[in-house]
């Protein structure tokens, strides 16, 4: 008692502080639990979201899977009016546009990666190029589509009449060009990072043996980054497969099997975009969703492979 009084006299503020601390502690303890639980719930919700997306696609595809079976994917005719559903034209259209876009984009994304990663990692010119690449990635795909419709399609039409094929303008070739422009940034920026990870000791070793810059790139940088570059290509492919709007606007939207790269066609994504809100029968709608399911699975697998290659590369 004596002690307490003397303490009060000596240090009044301290007693007050201790009191306040006690008061606030109880409330804090309660919130701590709430906070921890909400962190877990949000992390869990992301997981639930992805599982939910998958289940929804599967469940909504069931009518189509039941009615059309596996033959759906190889069926060559898509004619909803006569209730005939074959997805082959879209699978082929998707594969053609994506691979063509990939082939067109590779030299450019490779050149950007080598330039920024090896030749000139800093300086205003590479700063300019970096910004250009970032802006190319930032432009919305409808704007690409619109621009392509107005400028690219007429050019392609001219080219087509010059080489003597039916001058549609719109079609797989036009779609591939737009797509190629859109996916360049992904492989390019990844490739740049990979090239910058090549240990300089390796390169210096090759230079000291009298290698030219080209030979060092060919014999040291390329072999070292090979697997990562492949992953970059896979990730761009994943992008290309799922890209919808720009493709929809310039591919011509027909459900016939394309007979050349200049034919109009449809991709899985573009046919969904075009017909989803018009699908008036259960099987029709479900057939479109099954395309979505295929698209989902293919892009997930491609992305997972690409990302695991990159993880392995960066951990080495």
């Amino acid at each position: 008692m004596q002690e307490l009084t003397s303490q009060l006299v000596q240090k009044p503020s301290r007693v007050i502080v201790q009191d306040r601390k006690t008061k606030y502690t109880g409330r804090n303890i309660r919130w701590e639990g709430v906070f921890k639980r909400s962190l877990v719930i949000t992390a869990l919700s992301v997981l639930v979201l992805v599982v939910g997306i998958f289940i929804t696609l599967v469940v909504q595809s069931i009518p189509s899977i039941k009615a059309l079976g596996i033959g759906y994917l190889t069926g060559k005719t898509w004619d909803p009016v006569s209730d005939i559903y074959g997805a082959w034209p879209f699978l082929l259209g998707t594969l053609l546009t994506s691979f063509l876009a990939l082939i067109i984009s590779i030299p450019f994304s490779f050149a950007i990666a080598v330039y920024l990663g090896e030749y000139r990692p800093t300086g205003w010119l590479s700063g300019f190029l970096k910004n250009v690449v970032e802006l190319i990635a930032a432009v919305p795909s409808v704007i690409y589509g619109f621009w392509a419709l107005v400028t690219l399609v007429p050019l392609v039409r001219k080219l087509e009449s010059a080489i003597g094929v039916a001058p549609y303008g719109v079609g797989i070739f036009s779609a591939s060009i737009v797509l190629a422009i859109m996916i360049i940034p992904y492989a390019a920026s990844l490739g740049r990072e990979l090239i910058q990870m090549v240990p300089s000791s390796l390169k210096e070793g090759a230079y000291s043996l009298g290698g030219t810059q080209y030979e060092v790139i060919r014999d040291v940088v390329m072999p070292y980054t090979k697997s990562g570059m492949f992953a970059g290509v896979l990730l761009s492919l994943g992008r290309a497969l799922g890209e919808t709007m720009a493709v929809t606007m310039v591919i011509g939207n027909t459900s016939l099997i394309p007979d050349s790269i200049f034919s109009p066609g449809n991709t899985m994504a573009s046919v969904i975009a075009n017909e989803f809100t018009e699908a008036d029968r259960a099987v029709y709608l479900s057939a479109l969703i099954e395309l979505g399911l295929v698209l989902f699975l293919v892009t997930v697998v491609i992305n997972m492979i690409g990302k695991s290659i990159i993880k392995r590369f960066t951990h080495e």
Partner: protein
């Protein structure tokens, strides 16, 4: 009468399966300065962190045994409450990088939501910084970020932050290892002054420092509390050969 404020019995601490504090029994009297000494890696920091339950924040770290604050088991209280009563200064200075010097000092109040009037705040900041021998150097730049200070100044800022909360016990882990002799002297002066109201446990490698500031010294070796005695006694008349070896510099 000398009353005990902290006492541990059969206290053990582990990192996973690594047993780093072994069966420690210690009684720390109120209003005293206790020095903790011992070779590097012997578990001084770990034992200190067990006192205010910071040890359990490391993933995989566990402990058992009893740790009493007055008559309460620290491990049965809520850690928040323990840490409000037992403050800590770390081996490396760790001011909050997003806060100004001023806000760093009252961080314990501000971040905890304990409201203070402007004048109270000013008083606490000035008082704490003066006691930690930093006031004269920073009084004109209180609103600069704490991370702009030198390492030694940052450490004194961390001491100010800890004493601003007026804990009953203050744990200091080699607080002067990054400081120049002058600020070391002012910190030691501070420790001496704080002794009248607080209880201090200070880890140090510096025997002169231990001799200057502490009432009692605990000597740890390979996780064990080898010897614990009045400082003068421990230095002049060690009972254990390991203590003797250490203070005569036969191993480090």
């Amino acid at each position: 009468m000398e009353s005990t404020i902290i006492s541990s019995s059969n206290f053990n601490a582990y990192f996973g399966t690594n047993h780093v504090v072994k069966n420690v029994n210690i009684e720390i009297p109120k209003n005293s300065v206790i020095a903790v000494m011992g070779p590097s890696g012997c578990g001084k920091t770990t034992f200190l962190r067990c006192i205010n339950r910071m040890h359990e924040l490391t993933p995989g770290a566990t402990s058992d045994g009893k740790m009493m604050l007055h008559d309460d088991d620290v491990y049965e209280m809520h850690p928040i409450f323990v840490r409000l009563k037992i403050g800590m200064v770390f081996q490396r200075p760790n001011p909050f990088p997003n806060l100004s010097i001023y806000d760093n000092v009252i961080a314990g109040y501000k971040l905890n939501g304990l409201r203070l009037s402007k004048s109270e705040k000013d008083r606490i900041v000035e008082q704490s910084l003066t006691r930690s021998a930093l006031w004269n150097e920073v009084k004109d730049s209180l609103h600069k970020k704490g991370t702009f200070l030198s390492g030694g100044q940052q450490q004194r800022l961390c001491i100010a932050r800890a004493i601003a909360m007026e804990p009953e016990v203050l744990l200091l882990d080699e607080p002067t290892s990054a400081l120049d002799p002058i600020s070391t002297a002012s910190i030691e002066e501070l420790l001496y002054e704080l002794k009248s109201t607080y209880t201090l446990v200070i880890v140090t490698h510096n025997m002169q420092q231990a001799a200057r500031v502490s009432n009692k010294t605990a000597f740890f070796y390979l996780g064990e509390l080898v010897e614990y005695n009045v400082t003068k006694e421990l230095f002049t008349n060690p009972k254990d050969s390991r203590t003797q070896n250490y203070i005569t510099g036969r191993f480090s």
